[in-house]
């Protein structure tokens, strides 16, 4: 079994501030409207995406293709509700779009699509693609002497994919210190615990041995995320892996570390009531 890290324990008990609760209301509102959505994977990501879009990424919602912008790829595309909430809140598209999630006329599908959603840098959903694309973006920055940074958000289940480790070798080979991989380590994938499905430990050592500068933190700790994510490069000459210990379904007690909330097809009245208790009216 995985040894529980202090960061993982802290993630379990971390208290959420009002903005984190507000973003969760946006996510859960989309699920309510659509009658479906990946709840657990989005709720574990909120703080990572929030800190990126609020405090770190150099982006302009009015010019989403600005060549100078930082790039961020949500490789674990099924966590898209968190991304959509942030993009909408930051003005990339109207908040009202969130209500159309997965609908026939919506730009917002169950996985993010490049070209459809302003601010989405790559179509993801098939797992194990984002880090390689990120290597290409970061390498292009290096070759063109541009200063944008590339952030790639990966799921822990996702890193079962061999292509992720191919990309890790490639990133290290090129010394891409403008590339930052954030691993949403919520320790639960679709079927069950990552420890059971395909053990990942020792995860930090794995990334380290692949040539990455590795840091671990509580992925719901906004302050810690801010501090770490603002340090780019973390170590000159090395790509960075930031292992974010999180709780799947964070902020919704019924959903926390509960595989049944990986994807929801509809919310019952009692579940809707429980959500109101947890995050407020939504």
């Amino acid at each position: 079994m995985t040894q529980i890290s202090p960061h993982a324990e802290a993630a379990l008990t971390c208290t959420l501030d009002e903005r984190s609760l507000y973003l969760r209301r946006l996510v859960l509102g989309s699920v309510r409207s659509a009658g479906r959505g990946h709840v657990g994977p989005a709720l574990s990501l909120i703080e990572m995406v929030r800190v990126l879009y609020d405090d770190v990424l150099r982006i302009d919602p009015n010019n989403p293709r600005d060549p100078a912008r930082d790039r961020a790829i949500l490789s674990k595309g099924h966590g898209c509700l968190a991304l959509y909430a942030l993009l909408a809140d930051r003005g990339f598209f109207p908040l009202s779009e969130l209500d159309g999630f997965c609908g026939p006329d919506s730009i917002l599908g169950g996985h993010p699509e490049y070209g459809m959603v302003p601010g989405v840098e790559a179509s993801t959903g098939a797992l194990g693609h984002g880090l390689s694309i990120g290597v290409g973006l970061a390498l292009a920055a290096r070759m063109r002497e541009r200063t944008y940074r590339t952030f790639v958000l990966l799921g822990d289940g996702e890193i079962n994919e061999g292509s992720v480790w191919e990309a890790a070798m490639g990133a290290a080979k090129h010394g891409l210190d403008n590339l930052i991989a954030l691993i949403d380590y919520n320790k639960l994938q679709s079927y069950g615990p990552t420890d059971y499905v395909l053990p990942l430990e020792p995860l930090a050592d794995k990334w380290r041995s692949f040539g990455f500068a590795v840091q671990e933190l509580n992925g719901h700790d906004v302050g810690a995320l801010r501090t770490v994510l603002k340090q780019v490069p973390a170590v000159p000459g090395k790509p960075a892996a930031i292992i974010c210990h999180t709780v799947k379904g964070k902020g919704l007690p019924a959903a926390e570390s509960n595989a049944d909330w990986h994807h929801k097809n509809k919310l019952t009245d009692s579940e809707l009531d429980a959500i109101r208790v947890a995050v407020g009216d939504f």
Binding site: A122, A140, G162, A167, M169, K173
Partner: protein, 319 residues
């Protein structure tokens, strides 16, 4: 053909700074001159094809035109999802230079024989599939790849294929070349089947059978207009391909004819490899011969099919 295509990458790189060469683990010395002249744009990335496709997508998103090169089966079978999602879904200008299309790697067995690559690449939206017949044509093709929108799969033969293409025919991606005027039969070819078709046409001529040849170097998008033009008044359309019967040139031609002709479909003969992996080694030529794709065998099959075919006058489907 292969060396020519590689050298063209170097030439294009000299002309256009967007051009990159990305190899997995190619033979020692591949594009050595380019690696010396443009070391930053000559990338060797290891036997990690799935990653290389994704990486090339990222580079293409930033304005580069990557030419990704390895053995055909690894570009197709191994990283099909990356090709579909990273390249085709994003419609990025990455060029896949596939070494050893068809049976080039005959001695190395089924893992290295790309016998279904046209089918699976052709199935992908936004993908262009081109199979040049010889080194000269490969050169003309590569000239056109710089500014083509979207991904291209380039199926290469090996070195030493007889040069039969002609400069005066020109070359345009997506435009078939009429190598011999239509007669009793029109043979539609792709890649190095053109050489066999030319020899077969001579054998047929000796029997008094007029055989036209339409060289369909681009299998997708298929030049349906040229196809319809070529088959007017002919008694038989024969497709020749170094590929399994499913989904390749023969399928593409049959689909186009069914889509365009309401009635009076021409008699059709699809000559291809059988629907199985090749469990023989030897050479590309010996395997083609074994499976009825030598010039002799093609001529025999066409001549045999002709009397049985009914004369038909294909009409354009009126819609």
């Amino acid at each position: 053909m292969r060396n020519t295509a590689m050298n063209m990458v170097h030439k294009l790189a000299a002309r256009d700074e967007r051009v990159l060469y990305i190899g997995s683990d190619p033979g020692a010395g591949t594009l050595r001159a380019m690696s010396k002249e443009f070391p930053k744009r000559h990338l060797i990335e290891g036997i990690s094809e799935a990653h290389i496709i994704g990486m090339s997508a990222g580079l293409a998103m930033e304005g580069f035109v990557p030419y990704v090169n390895t053995i055909a089966t690894f570009l197709t079978r191994r990283c099909y999802e990356q090709v579909a999602v990273d390249l085709c879904l994003h419609n990025l200008p990455v060029r896949l230079i596939a070494n050893g299309g068809g049976l080039v790697y005959a001695p190395l067995g089924p893992t290295h024989q790309a016998i279904e690559d046209i089918a699976i690449m052709r199935a992908l939206p936004n993908m262009t599939v081109v199979c040049p017949c010889d080194a000269d044509e490969a050169s003309r093709l590569m000239e056109q790849t710089l500014d083509w929108t979207g991904p291209i799969y380039i199926r290469l033969g090996k070195g030493g294929d007889a040069v039969v293409s002609k400069a005066e025919h020109g070359f345009e991606i997506g435009k078939a070349i009429l190598m011999r005027p239509p007669g009793d039969v029109v043979m539609v070819t792709t890649g190095i089947m053109l050489q066999r078709a030319l020899a077969a046409a001579d054998l047929l001529a000796a029997q008094g059978i007029r055989a036209g040849i339409l060289h369909m170097h681009t299998v997708k998008p298929l030049d349906t207009e040229a196809l319809l033009q070529a088959i007017r008044g002919t008694r038989l359309v024969a497709t020749l391909e170094e590929h399994v019967p499913s989904g390749g040139l023969g399928s593409a031609v049959a689909e186009a004819l069914i889509d365009k002709l309401g009635s009076g479909l021409p008699a059709m003969l699809r000559l291809s490899l059988p629907d199985r992996f090749m469990h023989n080694y030897g050479s590309q030529d010996s395997l083609l011969k074994k499976h009825g794709l030598s010039a002799d065998a093609i001529a025999t099959s066409v001549a045999r099919a002709l009397p049985a075919s009914h004369t038909s006058s294909p009409q354009l489907h009126s819609t």
